[in-house]
């Protein structure tokens, strides 16, 4: 295999040239549009919650609006609609919290055939796992660093 490195590099460059490019203006525009719209929806839910509970903490309002978006996403995933929105929106749907919720719900639905333990239980975070694991790891690092700083 090692003597083929040059041949392979040449071939990969040739493939790269041949491969059709995704119409990237369109996908960027779609991502911007869908991403912006999902965020606006969350802001709207937040404003509504604030109108009814003016005393609520701003962070809690943010959490609640995220939870509403998560709920809507999971329900849309259940109805089998979300993958179509995501096909249009691309990064516009997976970068907001909706992508996280969709990945968990889709895995739960897909792997339920393997049962409660090895299916839903083990594979629910098949796609979303990296986000949660890395996120918690970073938060612990931040927390520990902050504690150390406080000590001095």
């Amino acid at each position: 295999m090692s003597d083929n490195i040059e041949r392979n590099e040449e071939y990969l460059m040739y493939v790269e040239k041949q491969t059709p490019k995704t119409g990237w203006f369109n996908s960027l525009f779609h991502a911007f549009l869908v991403g912006g719209m999902i965020c606006c929806m969350a802001q709207m839910f937040g404003d509504i919650i604030k109108a009814y509970n003016p005393t609520m903490d701003i962070l809690r309002v943010g959490s609640w609006s995220s939870i509403i978006i998560i709920t809507i996403t999971i329900l849309l995933t259940g109805f089998g609609v979300f993958d179509r929105i995501a096909k249009f929106g691309g990064a516009g749907t997976f970068i907001p919290i909706s992508g996280f919720a969709n990945s968990i719900a889709s895995c739960a639905i897909e792997f339920k055939n393997e049962g409660l333990v090895f299916g839903i239980g083990a594979k629910m975070f098949y796609v979303a796992g990296p986000v949660l694991v890395n996120g918690v790891a970073y938060s612990i690092i931040v927390g520990l660093v902050y504690t150390l700083i406080q000590l001095f």
Binding site: C40, I95, Y138
Partner: protein, 124 residues
């Protein structure tokens, strides 16, 4: 009224722009979505750790909190708040505590939905 409309424009632009950067990375570098999410999460956590991301949250509301960078920020802020109020215990658990509701809803609701729904095949 004008301020409210301006707020929504800000939310739209900031949220949209973060997603656009993600899409741009995906197209240009062919990094898989899962990796992009982790990268964005890390950026959010770092900016949150230095307290920079909160300015963006104040300025653009849900446009900054809803993308995965906001999730990273919430984790980092949670850890910092935990550290200030609860010491080492808070430093370790604070991040999860701050984001627990969202994660719990995702898990719980997915669990319920999965009992009622079968995955459907795709045509395109």
């Amino acid at each position: 009224m004008l301020a409210a409309i301006f707020m929504y424009v800000k939310v739209f632009c900031v949220g949209g722009l973060i997603c656009l950067i993600g899409e741009l990375i995906e197209i240009k570098t062919k990094i898989t979505p899962a990796r992009i999410l982790v990268i964005f999460l890390m950026v959010g956590a770092i900016l949150g750790g230095f307290g920079i991301y909160n300015y963006l949250v104040e300025w653009a509301g849900a446009g900054a909190t809803l993308p995965i960078t906001g999730f990273g920020n919430a984790l980092a802020r949670g850890a910092i708040e935990g550290a200030t109020s609860n010491g080492l215990f808070g430093a370790i658990g604070g991040g999860l505590m701050a984001t627990s509701a969202g994660v719990a809803v995702s898990i719980g609701l997915s669990y319920i939905v999965s009992f009622f729904v079968k995955s459907k095949t795709k045509k395109s």
